[in-house]
Symmetry: C2
Subunit: 215 residues, 2 copies
DNA sequence: CTCTGATTGTTTTATATTTAACACATTTAA
DNA sequence: TTAAATGTGTTAAATATAAAACAATCAGAG
């Protein structure tokens, strides 16, 4: 397939396209033009066309895009047609919430285990799964062919745990810990730094306040 | 102060600077050069200097930056020195987790209420706070001068609730619901679309797999 | 004090991203 | 059957972002 590098800016927009296309699908819309979609999503039609064309032509001139086809293609690009095996490391508030909330199975993720070092949690059952001690981690990962580790542990332990998991064959981290993981370049890290996000929010609040003050 | 528009790309980097500066502060490092910081953070020194200079000169030529001073200035820019009043709308897994996990108070956020439409939750106590019914929402927001609403409700209700909250004076949304809120331009929205983030992850996994296959 | 090396602030250049423009294939309606 | 309308794919222009280069200024040594 294409081997030219596609920028992360484009990739970041794909899930949003997928969401809107899913909604169109649900409303039984069969075809849509970049123009219509652009109005719906509040982006330029030009950007939509160019984004899609990074991966080859999905539309038809004079006709537009077939919603179902486009949806499937984008899903394929994003890799959510494949199955991934996933564990959660850290069974605190956030870890438990993600386990219950994310509905991993619906998107092809096999949620296979949850771990914590707090022994008071060991009996606890979360989504048909018992919280396991960290001692089990390495053998479990090796035995169950785990791709993805969700890190919901405090930052103090995160880097070390990540190193260990890389050695066991984990290929990707969904990192909620408030540190930068330092992993080899073939390992994927997707950070979700919630407090960073909240700071952006407060920045924009004060900015808007100043704007209105100046008017 | 400056009224030139600073790009969100710059703003997105500030929390990370803050984090590293905080760590330096904790290790009693008093001064640092853009060069040193760049090695630590794995970005170019040029970018660091340019980012900081968007807000005026914080350093001293021939010397570097005073860690403490720089930290405080960035905190000020991000608006985390001010107090914000915050509620959580949606006391499900994620809402409860954020209430317990985020430690809002440490960053100057006053977490003042949590709401849900599920009446089985009404007795529930979360962080010294009882889950309130949605009927209370409007009067509560008006009476308590709420700035920020954290939306952890399903997407079906989110848009309507946001509209209602805007009318009551809420200025900003930290939106975890999987929809785009359609609010006036003076209202701030910071989206945290977790499933989008997870899709980026899977995209990058398959990309890296292909890369190694081609080598 | 004065000089030198260090390191910022700022300008310039390069790269990346977004938007606009348009040629041409396809549909649709007369 | 044909011509106008539609709407993609693609190339070009504009804008935004990042990196490099350099000039101004300060700390610190002697």
């Amino acid at each position: 397939m294409d081997d030219k590098n596609i920028s992360q800016a484009v990739i970041s927009r794909l899930p949003r396209y997928l969401r809107y296309l899913g909604e169109l699908k649900d409303s039984n819309v069969e075809r849509i033009s970049s123009q219509e979609l652009s109005q719906l999503m509040n982006v330029t039609a030009s950007q939509i066309r160019q984004d899609f064309n990074n991966f080859g032509g999905f539309g038809q001139q004079g006709y537009g895009y077939k919603v179902n086809f486009l949806y499937d293609e984008i899903a394929k690009i994003l890799g959510i047609n494949k199955t991934h095996h996933l564990i959660i490391v850290g069974a605190g508030n956030l870890g438990q919430a993600l386990a219950n909330y994310m509905n991993f199975e619906r998107r092809g993720f096999h949620f296979t285990g949850i771990f914590d070092c707090n022994e008071t949690l060991y009996g606890r059952k979360i989504r048909d799964m018992y919280v396991q001690p960290m001692e089990n981690l390495e053998t479990f990962v090796k035995d169950n062919d785990i791709d993805i580790a969700v890190l919901t542990i405090p930052k103090t332990g995160a880097v070390k745990v990540a190193d260990k998991l890389v050695k066991c064959g984990v290929k990707a981290f969904w990192n909620f810990a408030h540190v930068d993981l330092n992993v080899p370049s073939d390992i994927v890290v997707e950070n979700v730094h919630l407090s960073d996000s909240l700071m952006k929010l407060t920045y924009n609040i004060t900015r808007k306040e100043q704007e209105t003050d100046n008017q």
